[in-house]
């Protein structure tokens, strides 16, 4: 039971917090993100939820830690990436973002953004107008996170959606993922050269994934 050669390196990792209101699908969003990373991108991930007694309407959070190495951080206090789908969540959790971390907000709901460096996309509006259903706001958000940070590939996200949702729901959700991903990519392209240079690389390129 004693390990022969314990691996003492602490692998790079990214901690993501998805926050909003109960019923916005944050638990599913976290699960898709973790599944894409762990199953389809060969990384490791731990996904956990934090929730209150309310099934709908209370504060809701889903957290994912992704790393090419072992993940032993089952709960984090500080996050590299913070998604906020409601103003209340943004106000409450902005302080949990590390310095220089990425804030991603649904600008349909979050009107007071605490930093000028946030990725702001009108996710709910995009869901209603382009996918015809507000329930896919969560997957637009997941797409946007990955389009911006590149921590998980678009292919992995699509595969995760296809494997975990009912077949008839897949097309709409895949569309939402792609929509969010493309919107975030465009946002990065439109950034000034200087600002783009400040964005941290979250892609785990060059790191060896452990099986």
């Amino acid at each position: 039971m004693v390990q022969a050669v314990p691996d003492m390196t602490i692998a790079p990792k990214v901690a993501i917090r998805l926050s909003g209101t109960g019923g916005q699908g944050l638990l599913l969003a976290g699960r898709i993100l973790a599944e894409a990373a762990a199953i389809y991108d060969g990384l490791n991930a731990v996904q956990s939820n934090s929730y209150g007694p309310e099934a709908r309407g209370g504060a809701s959070r889903s957290e994912v830690v992704i790393s090419p190495g072992e993940v032993d951080d089952l709960r984090c206090k500080r996050f590299d990436v913070l998604l906020c789908l409601s103003q209340k969540a943004c106000d409450a959790y902005y302080s949990s973002l590390v310095e220089g971390g990425v804030l991603i907000v649904d600008s349909t709901n979050v009107t007071v953004v605490p930093t000028s460096r946030a990725l702001e996309l009108p996710m709910t509006r995009m869901a209603i107008e382009e996918c015809g259903n507000r329930v896919v706001t969560n997957l637009i958000a997941v797409g946007a996170i990955c389009g911006y940070t590149r921590m998980v590939t678009l292919e992995a996200l699509v595969a995760a959606v296809e494997s975990s949702l009912r077949a008839d729901l897949v097309p709409m959700n895949v569309k939402a993922i792609k929509l969010g991903y493309a919107a975030a990519e465009k946002f990065v392209q439109d950034m000034s050269e200087k600002k783009r240079g400040q964005v941290r690389d979250y892609s785990f390129k060059g790191t060896q994934a452990t099986p």
Partner: protein, 385 residues
């Protein structure tokens, strides 16, 4: 099992417990809904009917464990899952299962207490209840998984120990381990060792349900298979009938005690991490074991010879490895999400100066991080200098 084996899956700890139970051969689940354990019941409600098993939602947790024991007496591997308040209610029948020597598994996904406490938040405060919760002297086995994979493997282990020793086995999971999702690759049926209860080899007229054997464990016939015998929660003799004779009552309690005392090696399961040259030992279990592992790495990077002992079987307490460790190290830190329930067990074995064994007892439900353990360790070391 309707779940894939041999390929990576993203499962929650509760799901892994449920599939572990199925892999171990569970055919009966009786339970009552309670956060944060309910997912186990939900998986069993879907899976058991597919394999000819039975799921029933009972009227409360007392009834749940009653039905589980009944089904086990009739020959099915049976289990239930609950959390603090329900675990309190089950104590009555944990005692019965121990007394009547009925194999069964009880999963306690720990949440904040006492009483209704913090239903959606984590805790490790049922450790002592898992050992001493029911009245009387009875043997206890409690297992604490710290990853989703262990939720699977240790559940199989729990069933095996339960069947092998005819004893209720408790799995002390917690809200974090139960609800988090991780990548696992489940082993196929050929890769899993499954132990079934020993069947009698004697004809019915010679059968004694609690026969005295060399191993201390009596072969067990099931109801309805031609062996007609009596089971009671009263103190009983080897044939199962009530007795008040002092030689027989003493023998029964000795038999219970010997289940632990004569099988210490088999009931020892400890994960030792970097302990070969360690001078600073962290004793942690369950979800906190993960943070402790990370903390050991952080301390090692700073030149501290840290190591970790993580009991996977909490009860019986792993006396020998802990005693052995206490002779070698100069500091022990026991981080727990309670007021120090397991630390006291470590202290009982120690002859160390005051302050060398300390706890990190986080009572707010937000978990203990590796950083907190690291910082506490550094504080202990610097104070000594």
């Amino acid at each position: 099992m309707s779940i894939k084996t041999g390929v990576p899956l993203l499962l929650s700890g509760n799901e892994a417990v449920a599939y572990g139970a199925l892999a171990a051969g569970a055919k009966f689940y009786g339970g009552y809904p309670i956060t944060p354990s309910t997912e186990i019941a939900e998986v069993m409600a879907a899976e058991l009917p597919r394999i000819g098993g039975k799921f029933i939602q009972m009227e409360d947790e007392i009834a749940s464990l009653g039905a589980v024991i009944g089904a086990s007496i009739a020959g099915l591997k049976s289990f239930t899952a609950t959390s603090g308040p329900g675990f309190s209610l089950m104590q009555e029948h944990i005692g019965f299962a121990a007394m009547a020597e009925v194999p069964c598994v009880i999963v306690d996904v720990m949440r904040g207490g006492p009483s209704t406490g913090l239903p959606t938040k984590t805790s490790q405060s049922d450790v002592m209840q898992a050992k001493y919760g029911s009245h009387g002297d009875y043997p206890s086995i409690a297992i604490a998984p710290s990853s989703v994979m262990e939720c699977f493997t240790l559940t199989v282990k729990a069933f095996n120990l339960s069947e092998k020793y005819r004893i209720p086995v408790i799995i002390l999971s917690d809200e974090i381990v139960g609800h988090m999702r991780e990548k696992v690759i489940l082993p196929g049926p050929d890769e899993i060792e499954v132990i079934d209860r020993m069947q009698p080899e004697v004809p019915p007229e010679w059968y004694q349900h609690y026969a005295d054997t060399i191993t201390g464990v009596s072969p067990m016939a099931n109801f309805g298979e031609g062996y007609r015998f009596h089971i009671t929660g009263l103190t009983h003799d080897v044939s199962g009938f009530p007795t008040e004779r002092s030689d027989e009552t003493t023998a029964l309690l000795e038999k219970f005690r010997n289940k632990e005392n004569h099988n210490t090696h088999d009931l020892l399961m400890v994960d030792e991490f970097c302990m070969e040259d360690a001078d600073f030992c962290i004793v942690a279990y369950g979800s906190v074991g993960r943070s402790a592992r990370q903390a050991v790495k952080m301390l090692r990077q700073e030149g501290v010879k840290a190591g970790m002992i993580r009991p996977q079987i909490l009860w019986p307490f792993p006396k020998f490895p802990v005693e052995n460790m206490l002779e070698r190290v100069s500091h022990v830190l026991v981080p727990e999400m309670n007021v120090g329930q397991l630390r006291k067990e470590v202290e009982r074995l120690a002859c160390m100066p005051r302050g060398m064994i300390q706890g990190l007892n986080v009572l707010d439900p937000s978990f203990i991080t590796a950083e907190q353990i690291h910082d506490k360790a550094m504080e202990m070391i610097s104070k000594q200098k």
